[in-house]
Symmetry: C2
Subunit: 322 residues, 2 copies
């Protein structure tokens, strides 16, 4: 939605349907916070699958897994991805065989990919498989891949067109980015339920994820950006840029390389056709006026989410702005 005319402050959070758009580690933190203040059945997470990759014949969905592992308490807290205490004996042995092992596959993590790939081969959709995985991990909020199609994000650099994971993990984000390609999107549809969820939501929360490689692919799924413009839900984004820097990952460099200023305002601008509220870090309070000039409300908060309390507190503040 792009208006502030509906007053929903009288509605209880107990009946509020909150839909989030999520990438990986940063998003998982906020979703964990939301899961502490929103009843599970009222929380849905639409997850980027543009960073999915097929390796060793396995379908690997890093963002779906990061969110599921985080919500189930299994995530490795040091890295923000993978499984806490996982071993890497399979990967080490693959390296002995001369296999490419730049993508870090833990032994326990591998089970998720083997299981998912098996169910996909049996004909289940990625949405159905994700539900099965979440049930097994006792993840109660609804996790939905943005699409059931395989739509890997490609990074166009001066030298090559790379799969996102090749750029991100293998090349460690070093090549200069010229463009992103959200491949195979022509045939893609939003996963079942996404339209209804966004249209019926009380609020849609765009997590503090990279706008090009985490949120961008979700918005590129035919229909989803349109639903965000059409919904009566309050659409709220949390800035992934704080004080001109990305909290994690290549967001700052990507903004620069794509010709944008490295600023929370640049992110707000990317979403300005559907955003109602932009939540920026309190360090950036001086940008409030600039961002509100884009035609949205701007709110300052502590967005750093170092502790669980931080995550829950930010989630609470977001819901108050609904």
């Amino acid at each position: 939605m792009r208006c502030q005319t509906v007053n929903r402050t009288d509605r209880s959070l107990q009946t509020t349907m909150i839909v989030t758009l999520a990438g990986g580690t940063g998003a998982a933190k906020l979703v964990l916070g939301l899961a502490h203040v929103v009843p599970s059945e009222k929380l849905a997470v639409i997850v980027n699958t543009g960073d999915d990759i097929e390796l060793f014949g396995l379908r690997i969905c890093p963002d779906l897994d990061t969110v599921a592992y985080t919500l189930s308490g299994r995530v490795n807290p040091q890295t923000g991805w993978g499984i806490h205490g996982d071993t890497f004996n399979c990967l080490t042995t693959l390296a002995d065989y001369g296999a490419e092992t730049w993508f870090r596959l833990g032994d326990r993590d591998l089970a998720t990919h083997l299981w998912r790939s098996q169910l996909l081969r049996q004909g289940l959709s990625l949405s159905e498989v994700t539900q099965r995985i979440c049930r097994a991990l006792s993840v109660t909020p609804r996790l939905i891949p943005m699409t059931d199609a395989y739509t890997p994000t490609e990074v166009v650099t001066d030298d090559a067109v790379l799969h996102l994971q090749e750029y991100f993990v293998r090349e460690r984000c070093r090549p200069v980015v010229r463009a992103f390609r959200y491949s195979n999107m022509g045939a893609a549809q939003p996963s079942p339920g996404i339209e209804e969820l966004i249209m019926a939501a009380e609020a849609v929360v765009i997590c503090p994820s990279n706008p090009f490689i985490s949120i961008g692919p979700i918005l590129a799924v035919p229909g989803i950006r349109h639903f965000l413009r059409q919904t009566a839900a309050r659409v709220i984004a949390v800035s992934p840029i704080v004080a001109g820097r990305a909290l994690k990952g290549p967001t700052a460099n990507m903004l620069r390389q794509m010709g944008h200023p490295v600023s929370a305002r640049a992110v707000a601008d990317l979403y300005c056709d559907f955003l109602d509220v932009f939540v920026l870090d309190r360090q950036d309070f001086n940008l409030i006026e600039d961002i509100e000039a884009l035609g949205m409300k701007a709110v300052a908060a502590n967005t750093l989410m170092n502790t669980l309390e931080d995550k829950v507190e930010l989630a609470r503040q977001l819901l108050e702005s609904v």
Copy 2:
């Protein structure tokens, strides 16, 4: 070959090409012994792939792996299969997902299956993949799958037709066997080189493996039994039955259920169309005359192979009978 007319005792072992037909754990012991007395380049192992299975989209070749792990010193000495010190974190997590986990896949072992499956998908034949795996494991004798085709052995029981591994691992050999089916053999060919190896060999050694589920599938590959009848090589089998019992596994029960006496002689009889020498355990020396009545030479030896010295000594005795 089925004659004793050629005298090869004047030839050196250094120039003798020894070809073995091998199943899993029992065979691997004898092959290890042979590898200590035959130069690597003179030793070829044709391995049963009838117990291969596809699980989680992976091609698993238990006998090939058992022989390769044994020759490379990686095998788990307690079980005779799998990798020494392997962990099972992936399998445990698969069980949490509700996957079928009766087939014991170690984390390091899994790397072999992932790597093999990847190379097969890339279009390499199983023979080529096996060469790659052996090179990585520094296994120098030549290991050859009996065929590049996928020809799983099926076990016909009163209640169901089971994949061999379902019968062997999942059902722990409990169902009564009515028949074996070497499936998909119509289209199968011996792997490249097998005909030449058998025809040019000085000796072919049939390892003390199960005649129905380890050696039987190899003999069922179109052509192989014929090569054994035609070759000038001395064909020698080592009995898997000692004193009326199988050293390991279901050989004794299978002989009984298939209507044979549980005796070394019954095994010799199964091979009598191509066998020149049958090596039985010294506990069974009283069977020598009976077996020689089948038209072959019978030799008693210590076939138990508990220690490496036993394995090497048995290998030496076999070569002396060439």
